[in-house]
Structures are given as structure tokens and as C-alpha cells.
């Protein structure tokens, strides 16, 4: 009987360990040790995922520290994405749904005296980055958005999204809207970003939710 108990205990441990292992990111050792080429957000997998939250970035420079408030050099946002691991005929990872609300408060980005405001109208893809050093999860996702200030719409956008532990001070986020030449991305030569091209959050939190 005691042998059976011991066997059951070991089996349970093995099962739980396997489940935990199966939920871990499938990381590959591509992150450079410093000084070398940067390789984050280069390898992806289509897998069920969810990323939620919002925050603030003080870009430029996009470090952990807030810029002087009077400079108004910051961005605030809310964003989430959900995917179930589906793949389209071209091999692209499909998003089930998502949203992005982005406000750039920098004076130089103002449109007619108002902060630049980007609003996602469609989120089409989401892929989990397996090579980013984001401890809880990293996602590359995007779709179409509208510039609320001007009415320009159907613009492609993509974001790089990094949950690097709690409570969010080490998390990262980056966005690019190529058609209007807009990007908030941090490429630090000394590798001082959560995972390039993401910039540190100076407030808020990104939360990766394992969904399996």
C-alpha cells in the first residue's frame, strides 16, 4: 500500500510537471548576450493566447524613467488581443479579436492642437514570439486602424507586446504604422529594452494569459 502511495505521488508530480512544462514558452536561445545582433521577435508560433492591459510609455527615449511631465513626451494606451491558434491558408496566425486605443501626447505629434489618437478597427493576426526574453509571454500582433484626428483609415499597424513579470515595470510595448511613418519603437544598442523593439512601460501592465 505504501508503495502504491509513493507511486501515486510521483505520478501526480510527473503529470503536473508535464502540464507546467507544456504551458511554458517554447524558447530558443537566440537572445544575444550583448553587443551582438538583436534577434527578438523573429521566431513565432501560432498558439492560443491572450494579452491584456494598458499603460504609459515615455518615448523618446522609452526607458524605465518618466520624462518631465511638462515635456508631455509620453504615450498612453489600452490594448488586448485574443487568438485561438488558427492559421490561414498563407500560414499566418489569425487573431480572434482585439482592440487598440493609442494616444500620443507629444506636442510635435499633435494634429490641430489635439493628441494623435489611433484606434484599431480590426485585429487580424497574433503570433506568440518564442525568442523574446519576456518572462511571461510575448506577442506580435496587428491589423487595421484609423487615425481619429484625420479620419485616415484602413492603415496597417503592428505591435510588439511583452509581459516581463509583475507588476508591469519591466513590461514592454511598441507600435508601428508604416503608411504614415509612425513608430514608437526602442532599439537600444546596449540591449536596454525589455525585448527590442519594445519600450519600457512607465506605468500600467501587460498581462499574458496562458489559454490552454
Amino acid at each position: 500500500m505504501s508503495r502504491l502511495k509513493a507511486l501515486a505521488g510521483v505520478s501526480a508530480t510527473a503529470v503536473i510537471a508535464l502540464v507546467g512544462w507544456s504551458c511554458e514558452a517554447n524558447r530558443t536561445a537566440l537572445a544575444p548576450s550583448g553587443g551582438g545582433p538583436l534577434f527578438h521577435f523573429q521566431q513565432f508560433e501560432c498558439t492560443p493566447l491572450k494579452m491584456t492591459g494598458g499603460g504609459r510609455i515615455d518615448y523618446p527615449p522609452g526607458t524605465r524613467d518618466q520624462n518631465p511631465p511638462a515635456s508631455h513626451e509620453y504615450e498612453t494606451f489600452g490594448a488586448h488581443v485574443i487568438a485561438s491558434g488558427q492559421v490561414d491558408e498563407n500560414g499566418r496566425c489569425l487573431a480572434d479579436k482585439g482592440a487598440l486605443e493609442w494616444v500620443d501626447h507629444r506636442p510635435e505629434m499633435e494634429v490641430d492642437g489635439h493628441p494623435l489618437n489611433l484606434h484599431a478597427t480590426e485585429v487580424t493576426f497574433a503570433e506568440r514570439a518564442t525568442d523574446a526574453t519576456c518572462s511571461d509571454g510575448a506577442v506580435h500582433w496587428g491589423g487595421k486602424l484609423r487615425v481619429q484626428n484625420t479620419g485616415q483609415e484602413n492603415l496597417d499597424f503592428e505591435v510588439w507586446d511583452c509581459d516581463n513579470g509583475e507588476p508591469g515595470r519591466d513590461d514592454g510595448f511598441a507600435i508601428s504604422v508604416p503608411e504614415i511613418g509612425y513608430a514608437v519603437q526602442c532599439w537600444e544598442p546596449d540591449y536596454n529594452t525589455p525585448a527590442e523593439p519594445t519600450c519600457y512601460l512607465t506605468g500600467g501592465n501587460r498581462q499574458f494569459h496562458p489559454t490552454h
Binding site: S11, A12, P69, E101, V103, R169, T202
Partner: protein, 206 residues
């Protein structure tokens, strides 16, 4: 004897350790709610929330914006945005923010060039990081742009103001970057007649 000890150790590992290795998603199940607004005014005759976003349990995101707003005689504010983010059906996180450009309260008694209120709550943590005030002036005098939480100043004939007001509970935090409490004195008794809140963000996870 030694074998028994090993067996006991194995049983312990098999039965107890797995409980500590529960997947994070299971451990983090909860309810997340959050809300934010740019301007909130409550008096005997006015009850207004301008740019208000509310996320209830199970929801993911809400946002609102009000552009430039005015509550005559009490507040004007520019470029008001409110964004609230929940965790959806596994509500383990909530983040909300309210941002404003130039703000003028009580006909110039208090002004600021920019306000950010940000509240974040996750399981076991809540904070107001990301919140800030820019070029804060009270009664014509520059005030520290980085006031400590719950910094109170009396306003002669008006009441008082609390900057960077942070109200913590067991489940989260509410931050009001500028909270004016309107008071009047009648027969020697002070009573509150209204509230003006500028930049309010709340996030709760339970």
C-alpha cells in the same frame, strides 16, 4: 528506517509539491473591474462625468474621449481621454487611465498643463505608477509637480484640495490626481457642498 524516510519524502513531494505548481492561469483566476474619467463634478446642481470608461467583470476594454470640456464656473479641460482595460473572463489584471491637457479649476484658482491618472491592479499588487501632473499652479503659485500621495492644501473660502489622492483597498486602488472638496461654513459648522475630481483612475482585482 532510512527507506521509510525516503518513502515519506517521496509521498510529500508527490502530494504537496504539485499543489504549489498549479498553472499560473488557474492561480490567477479572479474578477477584474476598472474605470476612469477625466472630469467629475458633483454639487447640489451639477452631477457630471466627462470622458468616462468603465470595464465590468469579464469585460476587456472601454474608452471614451471628450475633447475640450467645460463645466461653467468650475472646470475647463482640454483633450480628455479615458481608457479602461480588464482581463476578460480570467480577470487577473486591470489597468485604467485618464489623461488631460490644460486644466483650469475654479476660474484659475488651480491650473495644470497636463494630467495623467493611471491605476494598475494585479493579483497581490496595486499601484498608481504612470500618474503625473505638469506645471501645477495653485492661486498663482507654482506647486511641486510631483506631490506625495494624498497631499492636502487648504483653499481659503473654498475648501481644500488633495493632489495625487490614492485610496487603497484590499482589492485595488483609486487615484484622483486633483480632488477639490468644496465646503461652506454655516453658523460655524463646516459642511461639504461638492467635489471636483480631475483625472481619476481605479483598478481592482479580487
Amino acid at each position: 528506517m532510512k527507506t521509510d524516510s525516503i518513502r515519506r519524502a517521496v509521498r510529500f513531494m508527490g502530494l504537496v509539491l504539485p499543489l504549489t505548481w498549479a498553472p499560473r492561469a488557474v492561480m490567477a483566476q479572479g474578477t477584474a473591474t476598472c474605470s476612469s474619467y477625466g472630469v467629475g463634478v458633483t454639487t447640489a446642481t451639477v452631477n457630471q462625468l466627462l470622458a468616462s470608461a468603465v470595464v465590468s467583470a469579464g469585460e476587456l476594454m472601454a474608452q471614451d474621449q471628450a475633447g475640450d470640456v467645460a463645466v461653467p464656473g468650475l472646470v475647463t479641460a482640454q483633450n480628455v481621454f479615458a481608457i479602461a482595460n480588464g482581463g476578460g473572463d480570467d480577470g487577473s489584471d486591470a489597468v485604467s487611465s485618464a489623461t488631460l491637457g490644460a486644466v483650469n479649476i475654479l476660474n484659475g484658482l488651480i491650473t495644470a498643463d497636463g494630467v495623467v491618472a493611471m491605476a494598475t491592479s494585479t493579483v497581490g499588487d496595486a499601484n498608481a505608477q504612470g500618474s503625473s501632473l505638469a506645471h501645477l499652479v495653485v492661486n498663482g503659485v507654482d506647486v511641486d509637480d510631483n506631490p506625495a500621495p494624498n497631499t492636502r492644501m487648504d483653499l481659503d473660502g473654498v475648501g481644500y484640495v488633495v493632489f495625487n489622492e490614492q485610496i487603497r483597498t484590499s482589492t485595488g486602488i483609486t487615484v484622483n490626481m486633483i480632488h477639490v472638496v468644496l465646503q461652506e461654513k454655516v453658523l460655524g459648522v463646516t459642511r461639504t457642498t461638492g467635489h471636483i475630481r480631475i483625472g481619476s483612475a481605479s483598478a481592482k482585482v479580487s
